[in-house]
């Protein structure tokens, strides 16, 4: 059972009046992450909306030491910092509990540009948490396609819809044999909180991916951010799971979809809420396009169901 909302700590690490858009899912998720990590942490940011949201010098919107680094270096920079902290502790220059080193990176910095450094950090099993807040496009630069963009999506670089399915990044990270991998989304804050606490208390490389429905990129009304996140989970377009030492377990409500207790909702309603799909579903080929997207989702559900049975 996930932690109930009333039991979440009071601590606020995202300060009011930052530069994020109204209804931003990234700050929404970062607030919950802050509650789990506490103040003793170091944050690394690659170019993304979250850097723009920090606000203007001399004020900072996040209550952590923040380091802005280059796009491709999330994994390597975090590794360097965590190694430096360990050596400072060894030499007696640092006392008390070591700060948690975490990178807060968008899907561009994880799926595409930052993948090489991240993969290397995972292979070295360095003691860091990598958060990917996934809004399925390069939203900060005006919505271009990324490796996380699903099939049939309108972006400025795929005006007739992306033709390729997205890659399963969380599973790719799991295949690096790291101790903890999880997926979460903003509509289930208790679930996200538990996963971050678990990651904080696990030594080694941790990877947590958070689905963040961006109203600008996805083209829906900003008040519906949480609704869209919930619909993505209920339709099976986003699966909530975690893997401790390689053993996958699914979290509610995705566990019901995987076990077959409750069928996933048809994807139509989820697609029609979003302008990025809806604008391409007006013509005569609409049903064929929806079938393609539904096919990708069904394939992922079937694949993850079988993948979870492997426990070697």
């Amino acid at each position: 059972m996930a932690t109930s909302i009333k039991k979440l700590p009071d601590i606020e690490q995202v300060l009011s009046g930052n530069g994020a858009c109204g209804g931003c899912p990234a700050t929404m998720a970062l607030r919950i992450v802050g509650k789990a990590l506490g103040t003793n942490a170091i944050m690394l940011l690659t170019p993304s909306c979250s850097v723009a949201s920090m606000g203007m010098t001399p004020k900072l919107g996040y209550n952590w030491p923040c380091i802005n680094i280059t796009f491709a270096s999330a994994g390597s920079s975090a590794s360097g910092i965590t190694h430096a902290l360990e050596i400072m502790k060894e030499k007696g220059r640092l006392e008390g509990e070591l700060p948690t080193v975490f990178s807060w990176v968008g899907d561009g910095g994880t799926y595409d540009i930052g993948f090489q450094a991240l993969s290397a950090a995972a292979e070295r099993n360095d003691n860091i948490i990598h958060f990917c807040y996934n809004n399925e496009a390069y939203s900060n630069t005006g919505v271009q396609r990324s490796g996380a963009t699903p099939r049939g999506t309108y972006t400025t670089t795929t005006p007739s819809g992306k033709r390729q399915p997205k890659k399963n990044m969380a599973l790719l990270m799991l295949e690096h044999n790291i101790p903890y991998v999880a997926t979460a989304t903003v509509a289930y804050p208790g679930d996200l909180y538990d996963k971050v606490v678990k990651a904080k208390n696990t030594p080694g490389m941790k990877y947590i991916e958070i689905l963040a429905p961006c109203y600008l990129g996805w083209q829906f009304d900003m008040a519906e951010t949480v609704q869209l996140s919930r619909m993505a989970v209920r339709s099976g377009a986003w699966l909530l799971w975690e893997a401790e030492n390689g053993k996958i377990s699914f979290n509610s409500p995705s566990s019901n979809i995987i076990s077959g207790k409750k069928a996933a909702e048809p994807v139509d309603e989820y697609l029609m809420k979003q302008g990025r799909f809806k604008r391409l579903l007006q013509g005569s080929d609409a049903s064929q396009r929806i079938a393609e997207i539904q096919g990708d989702i069904d394939q992922q559900i079937a694949f993850m169901r079988e993948r979870a049975k492997i426990n070697i």
Binding site: S16, C21, G22, T27, A223, V226
Partner: protein
């Protein structure tokens, strides 16, 4: 060399309002009806801006951007969005 004071270092410090008084971005203002509110704290947890007080369920209008997530998620319908221009 003269020592550089804190204000002139190229370093930012955590404080509220790093994007200015973001309440001025708002077109619609959330208003809480305390008679309907059951203190479930859903608005508090989903607020991206951390402007809602958890216990009192009051909103800091200096920084509230008026996204409407709180009104959408409120299970009892206690929060309504009022147009800023209609006083």
């Amino acid at each position: 060399m003269k020592s550089v004071t804190k204000a002139y270092r190229p370093i930012s410090w955590p404080m509220k309002g790093s994007g200015g008084d973001t309440g001025s971005w708002r077109t619609h203002r959330p208003v809480v009806d305390h008679n309907l509110c059951n203190k479930c704290q859903f608005c508090w947890v989903y607020c991206p801006e951390a402007v809602i007080d958890r216990i009192e369920i009051t909103i800091d209008y200096t920084y509230c951007k008026g996204c409407g997530v709180c009104a959408e998620e409120c299970p009892t319908g206690a929060i309504s969005m009022v147009n800023e221009e209609e006083e």
